[in-house]
Amino acid sequence: MKSQSAGAAATVRIQVNGTEHEVSAAADTPLLYVLRNQLGLKAAHFGCGTGQCGACRVLIDGRAVASCDTPLWAAAGKHITTAEGLGDAAHPHPLQSALIAEQAGQCGYCLPGILISAAALLARRPRPTEAEVRAALDDNLCRCGSHNRIVRAVLRAAQAENIS
């Protein structure tokens, strides 16, 4: 894949939220645009295009990464999870339930990326401290000032996951 020149379309297989997809795009296309515009998965949002705000984060093989500066070729053959893949209204992820329980959001544009960072945190630290939650979310920007509610929600979800 790496050898593809910019602009020339390539066919790439990626696994997104448990489903195999074959997408056709230039190999250097940011993964974000493939997810949003080819697969219709709109949870990951564009914020800056340089990986500085976290709004576009997805899990790639369990790691939270910025999909806006991850080229498609780097995601080939990998397992990608977007916020849609964490859960939905019928089967919510504990983090999603906790965000609602804590009413942790205003505009909500940053939330899918924050969910991804938090999910990656809980996978490696099931019982994080508040300071660990804050540190894990430090590369996710929120402008509305919902930070403290979001932190409470992540701690709540950690409790819930451990009880269940």
Binding site: Q106, C107, Y109, A131, A135
Partner: protein
């Protein structure tokens, strides 16, 4: 324009006064509609900008109609159908739209009860409404759904049906969960950014490198030849690309940038001496208020100080975005504008179209804290969509566009002087402001206030930012009149007549700097007398609701029990927003290490009847955290030609690990009129932090942001 603004502008006419926005949108059917399936559609002209207004308005409608909130369907605002409520701004939506809906729904309920009485052959007095069913004392029943008839509401409101008293409220006053949040956590498409219309093209604009840059030549050969590129457009210094995919649009934009040749000029002030620069410009001066003899005789001493704030960016997490589509010479725009009708007015001006040939439909954007790029990007999209042969065009700004080209919150210099007697009592108070205007919103000037309009070959002169009138809360002068009982004062506002950087409304407008200045200066006077800052405020504030928030914040923060420790400080700030809105007192506790770290903000707020107490708390918490970010970190940076703070790296905002704990206490005032919460915490938070820094270090920082460099400069 919000309602207060329009009333001030003399649009009220001679009709009998109706509550809130009902006055200018009198048709009941504009506000709500009963459907046979039991749903009730509610339309407001106020829009969701992250503040939770949709939920609060749905609560109000459900309350008056006696239906579960799930029956209410809040429709997105559209110029094709919605009441014209001007701009969603000024923390006025609960007052303007909320009171209109309260009365419209109460009247609609009465009309349906009358129809039910006829249908059931019983007196109206025997009817009650239970979850949307209309039940007679004898057991006969019908429902809104069964009676659903558009004719019933095809009439003007009279406001003759009194809405419920506070004691009757079941839904209003309770912390119902936000209606929009589930979509946002499950990633259901909801934002204008997520719109995906059939045949949609993607566009990007080639913004100039600096505010005064002119496009001399544009070699678009390479961009046009790129795969997926549909069109490259240029009109004067405005240029952009249309492509089949977002990535193709971005690649073409990069190629276009390389092919562009600009002439740039040094038009920007020296960022390091902004406070002086503001005072040296040509201005229009207005005396905002005068009381008594503001140059008091018998003064033993006059104390003065100067405070400044820099230009601030909205810095929303999403760059502005719009979708536009032309069909047979008519334009449809999907926009996160705060004022869909105002945007339509300016689109009509700029495109030389009759307004009725344009529909602007609101779709949520990311958090909006004032007049951001939403209107500008809508015009950009409309311009580029002309080359799309009828296909819809989605245009999203880049991060750099957003930080450098959205209107900025204006820099301000505030000078305060107080004449004091020998005991340090204030005899007279003088407050002067130098600032650009705080509003260049669309829909108010003779020329369109849309960014690209100034870049076209046939350019429109960009309107100079103005200050909203006092009846709308003022602009630069917002909260310049002290909320204390000084015997004399004189408040003067100087509006700059040059605008090298485009400025407009940012959350709380001038109140942020004015309250920062007033409350800092009050602390300075108290310190000179050796008086406790809280005691000084309680001595000077006579209004009971002002004293109540001061006392509540102080009690909750245990002000009196503060333990002094090296490097730690606490401070207090207070204001009643706009002099007519919410009362808010903030206690800040900080630790002064290598940087200032705000550990805790304790806030007491009085918003009258809180429609949704958790929504109020959320707004106050968010406002305080944002204000802490402005106070500690934020400053638009530029050289003499270009804005340089066009990335998150160069425009940092407060991060999760830097955010203070925030506690909010809402004073229960169920009998009092509701006022907005969105902007009340901005000024008091800045002042409380600055006062806490003084308490910790003995250093008075009068220039925002309070960075380590500023503290060192102030200490010397």
């Amino acid at each position: 324009m919000n309602l207060a603004y329009r009333l001030a502008a003399g649009e009220a006419g001679k009709l009998p006064r109706l509550p809130g926005s009902l006055h200018l949108n009198r048709r009941l059917s504009q506000w709500l509609r009963f459907l046979p399936d039991g749903t009730i559609e509610v339309r407001s002209g106020k829009v969701e900008i992250g503040q939770g207004i949709t939920t609060a308005l749905a609560q109000i409608a459900a309350e008056e109609l006696d239906v579960p909130i799930a029956r209410i369907r809040m429709l997105p605002a559209s110029t094709a159908a919605s009441p014209n409520e001007g701009v969603t701004s000024g923390s006025l939506s609960t007052q303007e739209s909320g009171s209109a809906l309260r009365h419209a729904c109460a009247e609609a309920r009465a009309l349906y009860l009358a129809a039910a009485a006829t249908r059931l052959g019983v007196p109206v007095a025997s009817l009650s409404v239970v979850a949307g069913d209309i039940v007679a004392a004898g057991g006969a029943r019908t429902s809104y759904a069964e009676l659903a008839d558009d004719v019933l509401l095809a009439r003007d409101a009279t406001a003759s049906v009194p809405p419920k008293q506070a004691a009757q409220h079941v839904l209003v006053g309770t912390p119902l969960p936000r209606l929009d949040l589930p979509h946002k956590v499950y990633g259901v498409p909801r934002f204008v950014h997520d719109l995906d219309l059939p045949g949609m093209l993607h566009a990007r604009v080639l913004r100039p490198p600096s505010p005064a840059a002119l496009l001399l030549s544009l070699d678009d050969t390479r961009a046009r030849a790129m795969p997926g590129v549909v069109a490259v457009l240029r009109d004067g210094s405005f240029a952009g690309v249309l492509a089949e995919s977002e990535e193709a649009a971005l690649n073409a934009l990069a190629a276009l940038r390389e092919g562009a040749s600009w002439r740039e000029s040094e038009t920007l002030p020296d960022v390091s001496t902004l406070g002086d620069w503001l005072k040296a410009q040509a201005v229009e001066s207005v005396v905002i208020a005068e009381r008594g003899e503001s140059g008091a005789a018998g003064a033993a001493h006059t104390q003065r100080a100067r405070y400044t704030r820099p230009y601030l960016a909205h810095a929303s997490i999403a760059p502005s975005c719009a979708v536009a589509q032309w069909t047979d010479g008519r334009l449809h725009v999907w926009s996160h504008s705060q004022g869909i009708y105002n945007l339509r007015t300016d689109l009509a001006l700029a495109l030389a179209l009759p307004p009725e040939h344009i529909v602007v439909e609101h779709v949520e954007g990311a958090g909006c804290y004032g007049h951001n790029g939403a209107d500008d990007v809508a015009f950009d999209a409309a311009l580029l969509a002309r080359a799309a042969a009828g296909r819809p065009v989605r245009l999203q700004w880049t991060r750099a566009d957003e930080l450098a080209w959205a209107p900025l919150g204006p820099a301000m210099t505030v000078e305060i002087e107080a004449d004091l007697d020998a005991a340090g009592n204030i005899l007279a108070w003088r407050h002067e402001i130098w600032s650009n205007g705080h509003s260049s919103r669309p829909g108010r000037a003779k020329t369109p206030a849309l960014l690209a309009a100034g870049h076209l070959e046939q350019a429109f002169e960009p309107p100079l930012a103005i200050n909203p009138p006092a009846a709308a809360g003022g602009g630069a002068d917002r909260n310049a009149i002290p909320g204390y009982d000084f015997p004399a004062w004189r408040i003067v506002s100087h509006r700059l007549l040059a605008m090298p950087l485009r400025t407009s409304a940012l959350r709380s407008l001038g109140a942020f700097a004015n309250v920062f200045a007033i409350e800092s200066f009050l602390d300075e006077l108290a310190a000179a007398r050796g008086e406790d800052p809280l005691a000084a405020r309680l001595r000077l504030a006579s209004e009971p609701r002002a004293r109540a928030v001061l006392a509540a914040a102080a009690a909750r923060a245990n002000w009196a029990g503060w333990r002094r420790r090296e490097g730690r400080g606490h401070g207090i700030g207070f204001a009643r927003y706009k002099g007519s809105g919410a009362w808010c007192a903030v206690v800040a506790e900080i630790e002064a290490g290598r940087e200032i770290r705000v550990e805790r903000l304790v806030i007491a707020v009085d918003v009258g009847l809180a429609i949704n107490p958790d929504g109020v708390a959320n707004q106050i918490e968010g406002g305080a955290i944002q204000a802490a970010s402005w106070t500690l970190k934020e400053q638009v940076r530029f050289d003499r030609t270009r804005i340089t703070s066009d990335s998150w790296e160069h425009y940092p905002i407060l991060r999760f690990s830097e955010v203070p704990a925030v506690e909010v206490e809402i004073l229960p005032r169920p009998q009092e009129t509701s006022v907005g919460a969105g902007e009340a915490a901005q000024g008091p938070t800045a002042a409380a932090i600055a006062n806490a820094v003084f308490d910790a270090l003995g250093v008075r920082v009068r220039d925002l942001p309070i960075t380590p460099e500023r503290i060192i400069a102030a200490a010397n």
